[in-house]
Symmetry: D3
Subunit: 248 residues, 6 copies
C-alpha cells in the first residue's frame, strides 16, 4: 500500500501556498495525498468577490472550483467540510467528521497550520482540530461519527505532524526545523498557484519565498547532498520528535 | 568514502553514557566514528580516585585507559586534547586544535553536549567550542593550527549537529526532537559502560534511561515502522534545521 | 476627523487602574476615547458589596455608576456589554456585539488586557475577544450583528493593539516594551481613581506604580527628551510590530 | 483541623502514577487527601477492555472499582464527576461541580496535570478546569451549583497548586521546580499501582521513574538533609510563587 | 552549628536594596550571614563622587565604609574581593578566591544576582562567577587558591541558590517564584538603607517595592498563614529545583 | 545639533544588507550617520578572494575600499577598528576603542546585530561589544582609552538600540517588533549594494527581502498611513522598551 499524506487546511487556498511543494512531491513519488479544507475561506479571504456583489453561495462555489483545480494540479484528492470561517469554530460534530477522515485516509504524515497566528484565528483553530482529531482517531474506544465503534484496523497509528509556514513566520513564532527541498516539485506548485487567479499578486510572492527557503536548504545542507544551484524550498516545524534509526 | 561521525566530549566518560548508542550504530553500519575528549574529567569527575590519594597524572592515565577501552568497545577511534577540566576553558589554541580535528575527520554528523547545564559548566563550554570550531573549519580564510591556509578540499561542509542528553534533561532545557532507536546497538553500548568500573552504579541507571527513551520511540513512531517490543533509545536535539526531500 | 482610542476592559474598573493615563492623555490631545466594559465585575470584584448583602442588580448598578464617573473624569465615553463575569464567557453573540463596536468607533489604537493572567481568567478572555473581534471587523464578508453586510467604509483598518499592565506583571509574563510618559495626564487619572471609593487602598498603590514606571521612563529615555523630574508612567506591551518610518 | 490535599485527575488512573507518593505522604502525616476524577478514562485509556468487547458501562465500572482500591491503598478519599473523556469537555456545569468540591474540601494544597500535553488533550483540559474552579471558589459573589450564595467561611483561600508529572516530561514543557522525597511513602504508592492490573507493565516503569527522580532529589539537596541512599522521588511544577518566611 | 547564608554581590550596595530583608531575617534567627562584594561599584555606581572630584582610592574607601555599616545594621559579616567594576571581569584568580570563600563559609543558602540584566553587565557577571565557584567548590579535585587540595570536609554540599531582584525586573526576565515575607526584618533593612546616604532617593523607592512585594505575599499565600496586614516582601527566583518532603 | 545614528557592524558588508535603508533614511533627513566596522570580514566572508590567491592585506584593502564606497552611497561616515574576524574577539582594548566612538559620536540611536546567530559567532560578539560599550560610555567613572576621565558632557545618554536582521531570521530568534518603511531610501540602499560586486547574487536576494518586509509594513500599518503601493521595508528588534508620550 502506498504511503499517504493528509493535509488539513483552514481555507480553500492555504494548502497551495504553504504546502504545495510537499504535496506535489508526494504525488510525484506515487503516494496518495488528500487535502481536507475545513472551510472555503468564504468570509475572511474573499474580499474581492464580496466587493463584486456576489452571494455567499456563489463565493463558496468559486472557491471550491478553484481549490479543486489546484489540488488536481498538485496530484491530490480534495474534500470540503464546509464548517464556516471567520470564525472557524471547533465543535463536537466538526471533530467527529475529521476523525472519520483520519480513519479513512490512514495517513503516514499529517500537515497543518501552526498553533499561533496573530493575524488569523482560523489557522490555529484548524491546527487544534487537526491535532485533537488525530489523537481521538487513535483510540479504539472513540466512536465514528455514525456512532459505531471502529474495528481494530480502522484506528490510526501515530503519524508525524508538520506545521506549514504561516504568512508572517516570525510573528507566529514559526522557527523552521525542517527545510524541504521542493526543486523537482516546484513546477506543479507553480501550476497550482496559477489556478487561483484572484490572488495573482501572490504568485511571485510565494515563488520568491520558495527561492528564499531554497537558499536556506543549501546553507543548512550536509556536505554530500550535491544540491543543484536553483534549489527551491518549503519550511516546516515538527510537532512531535522525529523517530529514526540514523542521525543525519 | 564511508560516512564519518565526530563526537566532541567534555570529559573522558560523557560519550559513553550519552551517545554510546549512536556511536555503536554508526560503527555497525561501517561508518567511521571519532571521539575527541577535550579533557579527562580529572578534577571534576574523578572523586573516588582523589579520595584514594592518586596524583593528577595517575588519574589522567586511568581515565584515558578506560575511555580508550570504551571507545574500542563501541567501534570508535578516540583522541584527547587534554585542555583541563573544572573549569574547561575556551582559548584560541584549543579552538585551533579542534578546527584541525574537524578538517582531518571531515564529519558528516557532529554530536556534542547541549548549550545549557546548570550542574556542570564544562559541558556547555565544550558545546560552544564544538560549534565555533565547526564554523571556523568551513572558512577557507581561517588557517590551520600550524599557520598554513587550508586547501579547497580541506575545509568542511555543513554537517548537522546533534546535542546528546545531559544528566538532568529538563533542568538543562533539553527537549528532544530526535529519538534514536538504538536497540541493535545497545549491547555494544552496555559493553562500553562496563569499561568504566568506577561508575558501576550508572550502568543500570543508563540502561533504565535507554528503556525509557525506547518507550518514547514507540509512542512517537509512525504506523509502519514495525518496531520490536524491546526498543532501546537515545534522545537528541538538533541545532540546525533538518534538510530533507521527504517529510517523514 | 480626530484620532480615536478604543479600550476593551473585562470589568468596570480595570481601565482606570491600568490605562487611565493613556486615556486621559488622548482626551487631553482632543482625541476620542471609548471604553467598552465587557462586564461590571459584579461577581468577582465586588466582594465588599456582597458582604453588605446587596443584590446582583444593585451591585451592577453601583459598578456602572462608578465606572461612568471615572470615564467622565478621564474624558472618555463608556459603554457596557453586560456579558457576565467569573467567568466571562466568549460567545458568538458577544463577539458580534464587539465587532459592531469596532466598526462604529473606527479606532486608531486599541488597548486591552494581556493574554495571560494566572489570577483572573476573565482578563485573558477579554483580550482574546478584543483580538478576535478586531480581525473580524476588518473583513468585508463578516456581517454586522443585525445580519447586514458592512459597507466598504464600515470595515476597519489594522489599528495597533497594546496590552495594559496586569496586577502581577511578572507572573503574567508581562514584559513591557512601551513605557508611556503620563506625567501631564496623571491628575486626571488620580481623579478617576477617586471615583472608585470601595477600592480606596488602591489609590496609593497605583500612584506608587506610576512613580515606579516613571523611573523606568527616565532610565530608558534617549538623551534629548528633557523629561522633568517627577515623571509618571504606564507600561504597555505591543501585540503587533510597530510600523514607522523613523527609528527612535 | 488537619491539612487537606485535593487532587484533580483527568482519568481514573492518573493520580496513582503521577502523584501517588505525595498523596500517601499526606495520608501518612494524618492529613486528609481527596481525589476527584473528572472521568473514568473509559474511551481513551481502556483499549484492552474495548478489545475484550466490554460495554461502556462495564468499562466505567471496572475503572471505578480499580481507582477506589488504589485510593484506599494510598489512604485517600475519591469521587468521580463522570464528565466523559476523549475528549474531556469544559462546561459551566462541570465547572460548578468542581467549585462545590473546592468549597467542601477547603484544600491547603492542590495537585493537578500540567497545562500542556501534546499526547493527551484531556490532561490540559483537566488542569484548566482545576485552575478556573479554584479562582471561582474564592469569590463570594459566585454561587454554588445549587444557586445559593456561599457563606463567608465557605469560600476558599489561595492554596498553592502543583502540577504533577506528565508521561513525556520534556515534550510537555514540564521543568520540575520541586523534587519531592517520597521514600517513606513509596511502599503505599507501589501497593496502589498494583491495584491497576491492566497496566502491569507500568509498575516497573513508574518504579524506575521514582528512582530517577530520587537521584535528582539527592543531587539537588542541601548539605544537611542526611538523605538515605535509596531515595525515591516525584517531580512537580509550582503554578504560583512559593510564599515563605525562610529561604531554604 | 548554625545555618549560614552567603550573599555574592557585584557592587558594594546591591546586597542592601535587593536582599537586605533575607539577610536580616537570617541574622534575626541567629544564623550566620556573610556578604562578599566582588567590587566596590567604584566606577559604575559612584557618579556623584566622581563629580565631586574624588580619586579612585577615596571612592573605594567611602563605598567600603558605607557597606560595612550597612552589613553591620543587617547583622552580617562582609568582605571585599576588589575585582574592579565596569566591567567586572571573570578570571581564574577571581574564581579561585571565590571558591575559597565558599569552602570557608560552607553556606546552606546562596543569594546572588540573576543571570540577565540589560542595564548592567556586572550583575550577570557576578552571578556567573557565583554559580561557577559553587560547582568548583564541591569538587575534591579542585585545589584551593594556595594550591593545596581540599580535605574531605572542606568541600561544600549543594546549597540552593536564589537570585535577588534586579532594578527592572521584567526587562531582566525576572519572574519571581519565591515571595519572602520580610515584615519582621524590615526595620533592619531600612536602617541598612539609611547607611547609604548618597542614594537617599532610593530609600522610599525600595520601601515602596517592599510594600508591593508584600501585597503579592498576601495574594499568593495559602489560607492558614494568618499574615498581618502590613506585610513587607522581597522577591526571589530559584536556580535549582526545591528539594522537600512536603508540598506546601 | 542634528540627530546622529551609530551602526556597529561586525564585518565590512553587514551594514549595507541589513541596515542600509535606515542609514540612508537618516542621511536623507539630514542626520549624521556613522558606521563602525569591527573587522573587514577578511577571513570569514572573503572566500572568493582567498581562492584567487590574494594576501590578507590585499583582502583587507579591497574590503575597506568597497565598504567606503557603500557608506558613501548611503550618505554615512565609516571607520574600521580592524579587530580581526573568525573569530572576532572581545578584549578590554577593543571595548575601550568602542567606548571612545560612542563618546565622540554621541548617538541618538544605535543599530547592531542581534544577540544570537547560529551561523556566525562574530555577529553576536559584535552585539555584545556594542551593548557593553554603550553602558560603559554612560559612566563618568569609566576612563577614555587614553586614561583620562570623561568630562560631564562627554558621557552619553541612553540611546535606544535596534538589532538589524540576520541572514536566517527565525533560526536567530529574530522576531521583528519594528517594521521600518524604507521606500524612499531604497534607491540609495540599492546603489550601496551595487558597490559590493563580489556579492552580486545578493543584490536581488536583499531586494526581494525589502519587498517582503514591505508587504509586512502594509499588513501591520494603522489605517491612516496612506502608504503607497510599492512599499519597501526593513525589520528590527528593540533591545530596550520604547519611551514615548503617545501610543501609536
Amino acid at each position: 500500500m502506498p504511503r499517504s499524506l493528509l493535509v488539513v487546511s483552514a481555507h480553500a487556498g492555504d494548502f497551495v501556498w504553504r504546502a504545495g511543494g510537499a504535496i506535489a512531491a508526494a504525488a510525484n513519488r506515487g503516494e496518495r495525498a488528500v487535502v481536507v479544507c475545513l472551510s472555503f475561506g468564504e468570509r475572511g479571504e474573499s474580499a474581492s468577490q464580496w466587493l463584486q456583489g456576489r452571494s455567499l453561495d456563489e463565493i463558496k462555489g468559486i472557491r471550491r472550483t478553484e481549490a479543486e483545480a489546484a489540488a488536481s494540479a498538485l496530484g491530490a484528492e480534495i474534500e470540503f467540510l464546509d464548517l464556516g470561517d471567520y470564525p472557524l469554530r471547533e465543535s463536537p460534530q466538526a471533530l467527529a467528521a475529521l476523525v472519520d477522515v483520519y480513519r479513512r485516509v490512514q495517513p503516514d504524515v499529517v500537515l497543518t497550520h501552526p498553533l499561533a497566528d496573530p493575524y488569523n484565528g482560523d489557522h490555529p483553530a484548524a491546527a487544534r482540530m487537526a491535532l485533537e482529531a488525530r489523537v481521538l482517531a487513535q483510540a479504539i474506544g472513540v466512536a465514528n461519527s455514525d456512532g459505531t465503534l471502529p474495528a481494530k484496523d480502522e484506528i490510526i497509528g501515530a503519524p508525524p505532524v508538520f506545521f506549514f509556514e504561516p504568512h508572517q513566520s516570525e510573528q507566529s513564532d514559526f522557527k523552521p526545523d525542517v527545510l524541504l527541498d521542493i526543486t523537482d516539485a516546484f513546477p506543479r506548485k507553480r501550476a497550482a498557484m496559477e489556478c487561483l487567479p484572484a490572488q495573482k499578486h501572490m504568485w511571485s510572492y510565494y515563488t520568491d519565498l520558495a527561492i528564499r527557503r531554497g537558499v536556506q536548504v543549501k546553507r543548512n545542507a550536509g556536505p554530500n547532498l550535491g544540491l543543484a544551484h536553483e534549489t527551491m524550498g518549503e519550511a516546516y516545524v515538527r510537532y512531535y520528535p522525529q523517530v529514526t534509526d540514523v542521525l543525519a
